[in-house]
């Protein structure tokens, strides 16, 4: 018995050692991945933090300034306004495509002649290159020569200044976002609608529910996980919007469409204030993390 126990103990020890040995060998397989992560994610982040604590200028020296760049940000009215503009732009660029995408998904979920063709046409904007799209829109927005004001005049409406006035520039940029990205929301929600069970609708019909009641009490709750996914994707996309805004307005007129991304770009690559720009990156990243946590918390609640 003792011998058996001893044998069993020896076998267990050997197995443990083997496992340990294996795990040691396996570590080498992780090294390439670890090096890539270290070089492309960890190092840039650590270096960004390092730069944010320095007065770091391209072509100039670097001087340790501690938290001075962060303190300067708090007092920088232009930066604070850029945060507000980013939130304003993001809110509109998320809500409108969500609502319109949901309506489009409901419409395209129904069966009608040439539905496939209509769906294809609807998702065409999503396939266009953002910079090319921005250049075409810029021509269309020209207050005197653009086609949009000509169309407005044809239906008896007054011309608009579109991106050429501080008051209308952000709503106009949002309009492009809506045109460009509503199809993506529609596609996500269309997938969700296709996966919904039929039984609850049959039961509701027997109970005499109206179409709106069926939508409100069955479709919307069942579609909620898909809505949250679309919400997360749209929020991330809208927060990082840069190309369209830069090509069309470069943050103007004045600073009326200067979002954080434009502000950051100018600080880093036009003014070469790399230290200050790094501090902006850290703050912007913190804001994104905060928003992501809120969205993930919402998603968890929806699932629960």
């Amino acid at each position: 018995m003792d011998g058996a126990a001893s044998l069993a103990g020896t076998a267990a020890t050997t197995t443990r050692r083997r496992r340990r040995n294996y795990s040691r060998r396996y570590w080498w397989f992780v090294v390439p991945c670890g090096v890539v992560v270290l070089a492309t994610i960890i190092f840039p982040w650590v270096f960004t933090l390092y730069m944010s604590a320095h007065d770091f200028k391209l072509g100039g020296g670097r001087e340790y300034v501690g938290f001075a760049n962060y303190l300067k940000l708090v007092e920088d009215e232009r930066f604070l306004l850029s945060i507000l503009r980013t939130l304003y732009f993001t809110a509109l660029s998320v809500v409108l495509p969500m609502v319109l995408g949901l309506l489009a998904a409901l419409a395209f979920h129904r069966k009608f002649p040439l539905r496939g063709l209509a769906r294809t046409i609807f998702i065409l904007p999503m396939m266009a290159t953002p910079v090319a799209v921005a250049l075409v829109w810029t021509m269309m927005f020209h207050p005197q020569l653009g086609v949009l004001n000509w169309l407005l005049q044809q239906v008896g409406l007054p011309p608009s200044l579109w991106v050429y006035a501080p008051e209308t520039v952000i709503p106009t940029l949002v309009m492009i976002e809506v045109w460009h990205w509503t199809p993506l929301v529609m596609l996500i929600l269309l997938g969700g609608l296709a996966s919904l069970p039929i039984d609850p609708y049959e039961a509701a019909k027997i109970d005499g529910a109206t179409a709106f009641q069926a939508f409100w009490h069955i479709t919307l709750p069942l579609l909620a996980p898909f809505l949250v996914v679309a919400l997360i994707i749209r929020t991330i996309d809208a927060l990082k919007a840069f190309d369209t805004i830069y090509v069309i307005t470069q943050g103007g007129p004045g600073t009326a469409s200067e979002t954080i991304n434009i502000f950051l770009y100018l600080q880093a690559f036009a003014y070469y204030n790399l230290g200050y720009a790094s501090a902006v990156v850290v703050v912007f990243f913190s804001i994104i993390i905060l928003l992501a946590m809120v969205l993930l918390w919402t998603r968890a609640r929806v699932r629960a």
Partner: protein, 444 residues
């Protein structure tokens, strides 16, 4: 039938005999110069995308055949090019040997960091400088623009851009209006020409932040103060003269320009002017070519050219410029210097002028009557360039943070088009930028 020697033939032969020695000397010098010295080398050239760079790249074969040097040239849009070369220089290992530099933006930055080699040393070496190079042919203003405050010349002048007044002859003739010679005349006539119901405006000009500062400086140059900095290099963009220039900018763009002008960069201005919707447009000389292009422009053949009107105290036009530099780290400085001599040579400079790609930094193209008479541009255009050269003055301050300066002052100017008070806006912008400039000057 035979023909005897006429007096004309005899005179021509005599002239040829007299002219022969200098021609022969030049030919000998030319033949003695070894253009093949760096044959087999390859240099990289980084240029800003514009019609002048296109000319150089199109004719690059000419240089390669003459020298045996291979050239890898790239053209990158202006703003991206500025970032690219600054980042590459800062890295210590630029990928190019020759670089095109906007002096009005990067001169001080490049000079302070000593990114480019001093051309004077290369020019002084007769073994690598062609006798045909003729440095004295470059305009004095262009040479001064290429020279750093410490006397180093780290770029060879390429192009000198002057702000000129483009005007629509038809619109002016319809109301019997003469070309304005003062700012007051310009405003008054622009107001008369403005007819919003017909979508015709007296003026169009840059309103977009940053881009608009070069237009504003055209007005500031007409004041007693003229510049953005005083003799001690302190910022004075909130002085009474600066505010006067701001008021003029505001009323010209607010009262006589199309709605939405606060978001206009040069391309929107060009479109508006090309479509015959604006009577005046103050901007760089490089726009003559698209305006005279009959396939794109409705005003081709109807465009008039004049110097910038006189200000209340002075008469200047804003000048901007570009040059070619050789990277200090380049190991092929000899081949690069050959490229510079060719690129800024008389032949290419004449090509710039006659194609309307821009006003060359050399003076000889303006004296080439034959080429000018064959050009598709009017005599008025060339006369305007020559007259502008005489009254030109840098349109932007020579400071390192010039882009930040343009953004800060430009945002204030854009606000004034919307109705904001000029004095308040300029004072606020000056206050915001002053510490940036002071820090930059301290580091110099």
């Amino acid at each position: 039938m035979t023909q005897g020697i006429t007096r004309r033939t005899a005179l021509a032969a005599g002239g040829a005999l007299l002219a022969a020695p200098p021609i022969v000397r030049q030919a000998n010098a030319q033949s003695a110069f070894d253009w093949k010295r760096f044959s087999g080398e390859r240099i990289e050239v980084s240029l800003t995308a514009n019609p002048r760079s296109t000319i150089l790249i199109q004719n690059q074969r000419e240089f390669e055949d003459m020298t045996g040097i291979r050239v890898g040239a790239e053209q990158i849009p202006e703003q991206q090019h500025r970032q690219k070369f600054a980042i590459e220089f800062a890295s210590g290992r630029p990928s190019f040997d020759v670089v095109g530099i906007s002096l009005h933006v990067n001169k001080r930055q490049v000079g302070r960091a000593r990114w480019c080699t001093d051309i004077k040393a290369l020019m002084a070496d007769a073994s690598i400088t062609s006798p045909d190079f003729d440095f004295a042919d470059f305009g004095a203003g262009a040479v001064e623009y290429s020279t750093q405050s410490d006397g180093r010349m780290d770029t060879i002048p390429e192009f000198t851009d002057y702000f000129i007044l483009y005007y629509n002859k038809e619109l002016l003739a319809a109301k019997n209006i003469a070309v304005p010679t003062t700012f007051d005349e310009m405003y008054d006539s622009a107001k008369r020409l403005t007819e919003p119901s017909r979508q015709i405006y007296g003026n169009v000009g840059r309103g977009l932040r940053n881009a608009n500062v070069v237009l504003y400086s055209s007005f500031l140059l007409g004041t007693q103060q003229r510049d953005f900095l005083d003799a001690q290099r302190r910022l004075i963009s909130d002085s009474p003269d600066a505010i006067w220039a701001g008021e003029f900018y505001k009323k010209l763009l607010r009262d006589c320009s199309p709605p939405g002008v606060s978001g206009f960069n040069w391309n929107e201005c060009q479109t508006t002017f090309m479509q015959g919707r604006a009577a005046y447009w103050l901007d760089g000389v490089g726009f003559a070519a698209p305006l005279e292009d009959r396939t794109r422009s409705r005003v081709a053949g109807k465009v008039g050219y004049a110097v910038v009107p006189r200000g209340p105290a002075n008469h200047h036009c804003a000048m901007f410029g570009t040059g070619f530099g050789i990277a200090e780290q380049s190991r092929k400085k000899g081949a690069a210097w050959y490229y510079l001599q060719w690129a800024s040579g008389k032949a290419n400079q004449l090509r710039y002028l006659t194609s309307g790609a821009g006003s060359p930094a050399r003076t000889s193209p303006y004296r080439n009557e034959e080429a000018i008479s064959q050009s598709r541009f009017s005599r008025e255009f060339f006369n305007t360039l020559i007259a502008s050269a005489r009254i030109s003055r840098p349109g932007l301050p020579e400071i390192v943070p010039v882009t930040e300066f343009r953004d800060t002052i430009g945002a204030a100017l854009t606000s004034t088009i919307g109705g904001a008070d000029v004095g308040n806006e300029l004072r606020r912008a000056t206050e915001a930028f002053r510490p940036v400039l002071e820090a930059s000057e301290r580091a110099a």
